[in-house]
Amino acid sequence: MPAVSKGDGMRGLAVFISDIRNCKSKEAEIKRINKELANIRSKFKGDKALDGYSKKKYICKLLFIFLLGHDIDFGHMEAVNLLSSNKYTEKQIGYLFISVLVNSNSDLIRLINNGIKNDLSSRNPTFMNLALHCIANVGSREMAEAFASEVPRILVAGDTVDSVKQSAALCLLRLNRTSPDLVPMGEWTARVVHLLNDQHLGVVTAATSLITTLALKSPDDFKTSVSLAIARLSRIVTSASIDLQDYTYYFVAAPWLSVKLLRLLQCYPPPEDAALRSRLTECLETILNKAQEPPKSKKVQHSNAKNAVLFEAIALIIHHDSEPTLLVRACNQLGQFLQHRETNLRYLALESMCTLASSEFSHEAVKTHMETVINALKTERDVSVRQRAVDLLYAMCDRSNAKQIVAEMLSYLETADYSIREEIVLKVAILAEKYAVDYTWYVDTILNLIRIAGDYVSEEVWYRVIQIVINRDDVQGYAAKTVFEALQAPACHENLVKVGGYILGEFGNLIAGDSRSSPLVQFNLLHSKFHLCSVPTRALLLSAYIKFINLFPEIKATIQDVLRSDSQLRNADVELQQRAVEYLRLSCIASTDILATVLEEMPPFPERESSILAKLKRKKGRGNLPDIDEARKNVNVNGNGNSEPSDKIEATNKSSPPLVADLLPTNRPRPVSSSTFMFSPGSTVSSPSFTDLLNLNSTPSAGNTLLVDVFSDNSTFSATEVSEENFARFICKNNGVIYENQLLQIGLKSEYRQNLGRMYVFYGNKTSTQFLNFSTSVTSTDILRTQLNIHAKTVDPVIEGGAQVQQILNIECLSGFTDTPVLNVQFRYGGMMQNISLKLPVMLNKFFQPTEMSSQDFFQRWKQLGAPQQEVQKIFKSKHPMDAEVTKAKIIGFGVALLEGVDPNQENFVGAGVIHTKSIQVGCLLRLEPNVQAQMYRLTLRTSKDSVSQRLCDLLSEQF
């Protein structure tokens, strides 16, 4: 019980709170608050010195107003005064105000720190605690600097009272988290460990948290805590329930302390000392035994407290992963919980069993519960419980039960919540591939996935099925037959059309012998879907058609007719039009031999890890991979005691839920439309992209390079969702924040001269804890690598909480480019690897040098650049208010010189500049014509290089 006296009500405060509660509207409330603020201000400013009670009352009112969500910008000084009062109630309010409304005014901080210092040396435990709580709540660097040596001293001093020790331990923990550099280990370290022996269980409770955190950071310094923790735990679990008095909670002895001790032990491998080890085993057995005893109370508090300890004990057993009997007992215990009437217990049992499934000792025991888990999938009302059931099925899957589990997951998918469908799809796809003995089953499964949940089948999944079919000739005929049958359905998902188009284009000949699937039937079937599909799918189908011309010369004329039709040759979409034109030409002029070479069957893909697996790992740390070896490897590394315990967290995959937004493909980079080039047969034959049906773009672009990239060696490149949120904002400026989430802020500062640039990247740790294993890399597409050199200096692998580090990137532009380099950032935070990818705002216009010129010069050059392919024009609607000054600033920011008085129309803007690359320089003229009535712009760019015109136009037109 806190020692606050209860008779210290403040009438004025109560009246004010009642007034606020009686306000009928928000306006009335604001009015009342403003009146009160004015009153308090005048009291604080008045000549008459306020007594402590009044100050306390007013400060309390200010606090209340602040907590209602209003800004408070005064009262700090009065609060600091209160804090130095000798009356507890006044001091408490002073500290509360300071803790809630932290202020960075340095004078004030000096005064606050002074007050704290006085209280810390007051020897009054209540005052000392208020001061320690304030430091722990604020946790600022200034406070760490001031008290980092004082707090440990108080903690280990012999004459410190118990309650102050408790506060000091956790205060030190907070300072260690926020400013570890200021809290060096010292002689207090050894003495802190011995707090585990303290006779006051409150002190042990607080100290265990501190020791656990320190042990995670420097395990060797705190090794001795293992034996002390085991001794303490042993005394608790063997005590009679009344021995611990206040620390017994509903007949359970010190449940929270037990949990904390068991967590501390999870920082270390099993003890090597045999006696110690057997003592721990005894403890764990006792805890498991207690779960079987009849409950000492019917209250849920009793069973919850008991099971809190039990689950933590099981976590430790799994962490050690060395005692087969304990593992199997744990599994059986959890098995009982699977059928418990408490939803909480069923949920936790499913979750805990997932990690047990990855232990070789308990994998088989977990499998015996399969039917129960399948039943949970069908009957649980809480979606999060069903999700755990899916996770567990996935984790317990192996060759022996794969067919059943995959079938159950497929049937669940039909009714599954939308929120977890994509994840189930990925899991099914992975299991089907991993445990496929015969690949006809695999093909059936994936086609079923597309049929049941086509919208949730990501590109990775259908790329993968194509890759596997291409690589395994024993399944090709079956695949062709199956997709052909699936396509017969009157309504089939577009993903099925894609898979069908690709597979029939490659292997349609294998089923052409049957008159029911003759070449013409196949073609008509595919073409009947054509008009319902999106552009990328149509492009793929066109490629399938040209493949048909090679496979089935007898239907060449039919296909040529289709290609020749206006809807193809004059299609508004440049990609489709180009394909139609080129394929038609190719089919007309190439000899059979050349056709056969160009349109040859795809060669096998190199074998490598499934990109789906990568996606699932990314999507959900909770993935619980069935790969026992992998999981065990991690545990063992950890078992040696020299790697971070967070490895174990990865291995057991108890990690965070994903943000759904990250999964949606909406923030994918859009394809960069390819520039049209005139068809010449020679160049086509040598172009490898023609044999690759899925390479929809003749210029691969970041994130959109289809199959080529997914299976290429730098697959990380497309494997992460690339953020381009703030990308467009950097087209016309060089500095600012490009990325920010809860943990990390990334800021940029860049400067360019001619074809060289330097970018300073600032990584700011927004949290109070360290980022470990921090690393970055810049990746580019193959094409971009020949156009742009980026050299990144290395960064320190650790970023302290609240700290910022800087990285320098040196950039060299070799030739004109369209793609965007991607910055990948990786680090470990709270045991989880974080991956962030973002498009780095290095674009062609950064290498502009502005060119001033007269009106005459301008128009003369304008005429010289008059060839149709040199000009790119775009007419677009304005997205922002049409402000001439803003527009000017953007054009200058774009990099060109803004030429005033050049255009006869005053409203128009013209600019000129030269793009510098290592190989060439490209002169560029631009003209922007606003039409205020229509809220439209017309942007015209003329350069000596068509691809440059196009790229610059695309970049600049996004800005208005």
Binding site: L67, L173, A206, A305, A308
Partner: protein, 132 residues
Amino acid sequence: MIRFILIQNRAGKTRLAKWYMQFDDDEKQKLIEEVHAVVTVRDAKHTNFVEFRNFKIIYRRYAGLYFCICVDVTDNNLAYLEGIHNFVEVLNEYFHNVCELDLVFNFYKVYTVVDEMFLAGEIRETSQTKDS
């Protein structure tokens, strides 16, 4: 560790907010709204745990009040669930049958009680009778 503790009523009014890591004011407001949205839609058949961003919320409802503790995903669910109940029992003792209005009018005392029981994002004290 505990990231934050929230006490809210069914209407979404915050009765206590205690933060153990740095959030700016807008972020706090967003968190408060999100927590209210995820917690109030759940019924008695659901678990007392909800995945929340990179964390999880352990919550328990007492009459019209939701007591929510946001912790790391690896933390012990049941320990925090009973941590909430222990906290409520202490409040009950302190205010003699606590009700929502006690928390409104004595908000400054509630902060003191919280600091006695939870500090720096960890459980500080679990005894209900200790004078500390």
